[in-house]
Symmetry: C2
Subunit: 356 residues, 2 copies
């Protein structure tokens, strides 16, 4: 299957919904991807089943604070530079590109890399959503190392890491990302086709395209896009209201903060984010939290609203969508559950209305 | 010429004098070097003139805060790990090891690396003293890049940097050093034999050995070691007195602070340091400053006192010793002069008594 310029808007939009507020801006991602496809031609999308066992699969993405990334998009050469760093460290060529995470921009950066490098793109990602730290991928649960990992900036600097575990990759890469201006292009988790089949979430890009088209269709038919997305994903609508306050700060290379919403019935919701929305609370009760997806859509258009785009006055719908089942295991929750992020509430899985 | 275990104490002591308070603890350096020579045999020291034009020369050292390094010496495998990173990035084997800087520990780390790797050590260093930041070497004045640069820690993490200029190497490497626990083993400035002859300061280790022996001889003969060192180096004694206060902090991966001394005639001296002593002031007048060497010796034994070892009550002699002539050029002063470190005084070269 080929992805051409006409497909990218839907994929970017749908991936931004899966990005749970993070994973980068879908409009920026779409523009960069359309440009790359115009220059290099369409990208071949392959299913996990069609990846050879001995393939060298490398997921790529942009690491940093989304508030910065949206103002400092990549110049174009960074992903090629990062891939070359991986190839040099491993002594063999990369054969397939994959998504590290779902997200408006981070679904497009692999596509841009695949177009530029002339490599096939795998229809899968490392999380089934977006998360703020790089060890937070399902391959970590399989014991697959993040390193050798390469990072490149727009100035031409490159860092190649080989670390003793994935939290050490996160730690060293986060500092380098801050030095590089809170935004870096990364290539990491080099893996075989066998490992990709076990560790990656299948069909992320086709799901993103389907979700993205659903939003367009609902808009054309004056249907409720948020409800349609919730139904498609087996989640539910948590809240509808207006953004009345956003407090944000760039801290440790992350975009952190809170957003306060007031419902049309005067109820309140508090969203806590670190690149992604982590927790949705109402009147002191947690309605949804990591690892489940807290997604925010524009109430009128159904377009996803990322954490860096949240502004006073936006009318939004907040959705709770279920995460990949492996995140709900004890090992998954240890890596990405509320406790890791410093929250003391138990994780309560999101479920459709009537089942929660 | 061979360096064996009997030589290292003198070299470490003399290099610590040249280290101007920095470059690491000579006692620690000596112990590690004696151990390496016992295990791997003596090290071949070669003069710059004997290095083949097409050699691959790699200076090595420890980067970080001396206050931390003295409590967290390398485990042994780090330099080999860093060298392998350089070799992988360049695709060919390292042929010669060199000193990055003079210093009690950083004169010994190249010797340890050479012993362990079975490679010859070049009798030269990159500065003729020690400086706190890694772009502060004479090869920077020749346009020689610091990268590809490799850094390794005792846990087994490795970072390979390829940067657009040497200040970027410093910036990225400093952050990684902080992550690694304020101490990292580094290999950088890979250069040819031709470049080494132009860029390195010749005969650093033989000079260090001579200075180290001079201290021992003066002690045996009840002569004034500080005066003898000053005469040998063409510098002068600036101050004799007692340490009455040391304020130190670990900031940005450096050991920074000030030491206040009171003379036996009640005069005062203030030493300002960042790993190395940078400025020696008396009654508001600068008596010596970077790039010249401010060296502190124990008033009784003549042993060098590093910045991290300075303590209340120490009786010390402060020397001002001239730096390498290239540091006194406009380009040299732009890289390492008082202005770079934020001091607003002009640089006044140190000279022997009667000539200053």
């Amino acid at each position: 299957m080929l992805i051409d310029a006409d497909d990218v808007a839907d994929i970017a939009r749908g991936a931004a919904i899966l990005g749970a507020g993070g994973g980068g801006d879908p409009y920026l991602g779409r523009l960069l991807a359309e440009n790359a496809i115009e220059r290099h031609g369409p990208v071949t999308l392959v299913g996990l089943a069609d990846v050879p066992d001995d393939a060298l699969v490398v997921p790529v993405g942009i690491m940093g604070a989304p508030t910065v990334i949206v103002e400092k998009p990549p110049a174009g050469h960074e992903f090629g530079h990062a891939l070359a760093g991986i190839e040099s460290a491993l002594g063999r060529p990369v054969t397939h590109i994959a998504c590290l995470e779902a997200g408006g921009l981070n679904s497009m950066t692999p596509l841009i890399t695949a177009a530029t490098a002339g490599l096939p793109l795998i229809d899968a990602d490392g999380m089934g959503r977006a998360f703020p730290e790089l060890q937070m991928v399902l391959p970590t649960l399989d014991g697959i190392p993040a390193s050798p990992m390469a990072m490149a900036d727009e100035k031409g600097n490159r860092v190649v890491l080989e670390t003793v575990d994935n939290p050490w990759s996160e730690r060293l890469a986060r500092s380098a990302t801050v030095d590089m201006g809170c935004s870096a292009c990364i290539a990491l988790y080099p893996m075989s086709g066998v490992q990709a089949r076990t560790g990656l979430v299948p069909e992320t890009l086709t799901l993103a395209g389907r979700l993205g088209r659903l939003v367009t269709e609902c808009r054309a038919e004056h249907r409720d896009a948020a409800a349609a997305i919730a139904e498609e994903m087996g989640g539910r609508v948590l809240f509808t209201g207006k953004v009345v306050d956003v407090a944000r700060r760039t801290e440790g290379g992350f975009a952190k903060g809170t957003a306060r919403l007031v419902g049309f019935d005067s109820s309140e919701m508090l969203l806590k984010f670190q690149n992604e929305h982590l927790v949705a609370e109402s009147d002191g009760h947690v309605l949804a939290s990591v690892p489940d997806l807290v997604a925010v859509l524009d109430a009128d258009t159904g377009e996803p609203v990322t954490t860096e785009a949240m502004r006073y006055g936006f009318r939004v719908v907040v959705l709770g969508l279920p995460c990949h089942h492996r995140w709900r295991t004890p090992e998954g929750l240890a890596l990405v559950g509320p406790g890791y992020f410093g929250y003391d509430h138990e994780y309560v899985p999101i479920a459709p209305h009537g089942k929660g």
